[in-house]
Symmetry: C2
C-alpha cells in the first residue's frame, strides 16, 4: 500500500504532464493555471488509494484520478464567480486574472476535459464509471445551489446544513474512492462501503473546517480566524447556536449577521463569545465524531485485510489533525 | 426514411417526457424551461436522420439525440450570460428570469445531464460516442471564446471568421450526424463524410444567417433587419466589406462600428448601402455556395442508395429556403 505522500507525488507529476497548450489561449491557460495552484490533491489521491486497497495497479486509475481533480477545479472556477471571490490559494481567481467570460467558458471546457480523462480509463465498465462520476457531479451542483439559497434564508436547520455540505463537498470524496473501487472491480458491497467511508469523512472534514474558523489557531490553519463569521456564512456553529439560544441571544446573533459589519473584529469576537456561551463547540465536536465513527464503521466492513485499510484510516486521522 | 417533420415530432415527444423535477428547483426548472422554448430541434433530428440513413432503428439513437439538444441548450444558457442577452426565443433568458448563479449552475448541470443521456445509448462503442460528442463540445467552447475575442479585435480575417463559425456552430451539426452514424455502426469513411456534410452545411447556414441580417425580408426571417449591424457584430459581410473597401470606405465603415450608435436605423442604412456598393452579397453567396457544394460532395460519397440520401439533401435545401 502506497502512502498519501507517495500518491500525492505521482499525482503532482501527472498533473504537470497534462498538456493544455491549445488555442485559444484564454480558454486553455486557465486550466493549466488552476491546476498549478496546488492543494492537497485529496480527491485524486483517494481514487488511487481505493484502487491500491482493492489490489489493482494504480496506473489503471491515474486518468480517473486526474478527471476528478480537473472536475473539482472546474467547480472552483465557477464557484469563485458566484462567490465573487478575488483570491484562490493566494492567487487571483480566473475571473479576476482574465474575465468572467473566460471563467465561465474555461470552466465548461474543464468539465468536458474531465470526462475525456475519465474515458481514457481502461475498463470494461466505463458506463458505471461515468455514472458514479456524474452522480457526484450533479450533486455538487445541487449542493452549491442549496448553499446559495441559504444566503437569503433565515430558517436553515442543522439537518439541511448537513445535507448541503454532503452534496457540495462530501459526495465527491466518496465518489473518488468509489471510482478507484470500480476500476479495481471491487464487489458491490465494498464499493458501497468505501463510498460511505469517503462521504462521512467528508462531512467530518467540513465540520472540522467550520470549527476551525472560530476555534482554530489562525497561523496553523493558514487563514484568518472568523472569516466565515465576517461574511455571515451560515456554518454549523452558527446554526447550532441559533438552535440552542434563547430569544434574546438569538436576536443578538441574527442582528450581528444582518450586515457585513465594517468593524469586523468586534463582530467576530462577539459571535465567538456567544458560541462559547452556548457551548456549540462541544455540539459540533459530537457531530464530527458521529460522522467519523460512521466512516470507520464502513471502512471496517470492507472485506480486505485490516492492515491494508490502515492507510485510509491513518490518512483520515492525519488530515484531520493537520487541519486542527 | 423518415422526414424532418416526423423526426421533429418524435423529438418533441421525447423532450416532453424528460423529467427534471428534482431539488433544488432553481437548478432543475431552468432545464425544463429552456427545453420548452422550442426551436427547430435541428441537431437531435440530424442524429436520428443519420441513424435512419445507415439503417438502424432510430429508437437506438433517441438518447444521443436528446443529449445533443440538452448540450446545445447548456451552451445557450451560458452564451446568454456572456452576451448579456435578455431575450431568448421571445422569452426571458435564464439569468434574467432567475439570476446569474442559477444560469451558471443549471448550465453546468445540463452539461452533466447531456453526458448522462448519451451514456444511456445501447452501444458497444460508448467511448467513441463520447469522444465525438466531447470533441465537438470543446470546439463549441473554443468557437465562443474566439467570437468573444473578435469583439476587441480590428484585424479579423474572413478565414478566421469561417474558422470561428465552424467551431461555434458547424461542428455540432457534423457531430450530431456522426453520432447517429456511430450508433448505426457505419464504416469510418461514411462516418467522416456525414460529419463533413453536416459541418459544411452548418457553415453555409451561418453565412445565410449573416446575409439575411442585411438582405433578408424582416418579417420572414422573424427578426429585425440589421440586428448584427446595430450591435457591431463582425459578420462575414462586414469582414468582406473591409477586405474589398478602399481606405476611405474602410474608415467610414470602421467609424460606424466604433460605437453602438443611438440612431441605429441611420447606421444600419449606411452600412447596408456600403455593403451594396461593394457587392459583398455576391461574395457571401459565392462562399455559401462553395460550402453547400462541399457538403453535397461529401453526401454523394456516402455508400448508401441515392434515394435514401435525398432526405438529407432536401432537408438542407428546405432549411436554407425557409431561412431566406
Amino acid at each position: 500500500m502506497k502512502t498519501y505522500k507517495e500518491l500525492y507525488t505521482i499525482i503532482e507529476q501527472q498533473i504537470k504532464s497534462l498538456n493544455y497548450n491549445n488555442e485559444p489561449r484564454e480558454l486553455y491557460d486557465p486550466i493549466t493555471y488552476m491546476l498549478s495552484l496546488g492543494g492537497k490533491r485529496l480527491r485524486p489521491v483517494l481514487v488511487l488509494m481505493a484502487s491500491d486497497l482493492f489490489g489493482v495497479d494504480i496506473k489503471k486509475s491515474i486518468q480517473a484520478a486526474l478527471a476528478v481533480e480537473v472536475f473539482h477545479n472546474f467547480t472552483l472556477v465557477h464557484d469563485d464567480i458566484m462567490d465573487n471571490a478575488d483570491i484562490r490559494r493566494g492567487m487571483p481567481t480566473v475571473h479576476k486574472k482574465w474575465n468572467q467570460t473566460v471563467a465561465i467558458l474555461s470552466g465548461d471546457l474543464m468539465m468536458i476535459k474531465a470526462i475525456d480523462l475519465l474515458c481514457e480509463t481502461e475498463t470494461l465498465n466505463l458506463k458505471k464509471l461515468i455514472a458514479v462520476f456524474n452522480k457526484a457531479g450533479a450533486e455538487v451542483c445541487e449542493g452549491q445551489q442549496i448553499d446559495m439559497n441559504f444566503e437569503s434564508r433565515n430558517d436553515v436547520s442543522v439537518k439541511e446544513y448537513i445535507e448541503m455540505i454532503t452534496l457540495k463537498t462530501a459526495v465527491l470524496l466518496g465518489a473518488s474512492l468509489q471510482l478507484g473501487a470500480v476500476i479495481a472491480d471491487a464487489n458491490n458491497a465494498d464499493e458501497k462501503h468505501i463510498y460511505e467511508f469517503g462521504k462521512n469523512i467528508g462531512i467530518a472534514f467540513q465540520i472540522q473546517d467550520d470549527i476551525l474558523d472560530s476555534f482554530g489557531e489562525g497561523d496553523k490553519v493558514g487563514k484568518k480566524i472568523g472569516g466565515d463569521i465576517a461574511t455571515n456564512k451560515k456554518t454549523l456553529l452558527y446554526l447550532k447556536a441559533l438552535e440552542l439560544s434563547n430569544a434574546s441571544t438569538r436576536s443578538t446573533l441574527e442582528n450581528l449577521y444582518q450586515f457585513k459589519h465594517e468593524n469586523t473584529d468586534t463582530k467576530i469576537l462577539s459571535v465567538i463569545s456567544i458560541f462559547k456561551e452556548l457551548n456549540v463547540l462541544d455540539e459540533a465536536e459530537k457531530l464530527k465524531q458521529y460522522y467519523l465513527a460512521e466512516a470507520f464503521s464502513h471502512l471496517n466492513q470492507i472485506k480486505v485485510e485490516a492492515i491494508k485499510k490502515e492507510i485510509l484510516q491513518n490518512t483520515a486521522v492525519e488530515l484531520m489533525q493537520r487541519m486542527s
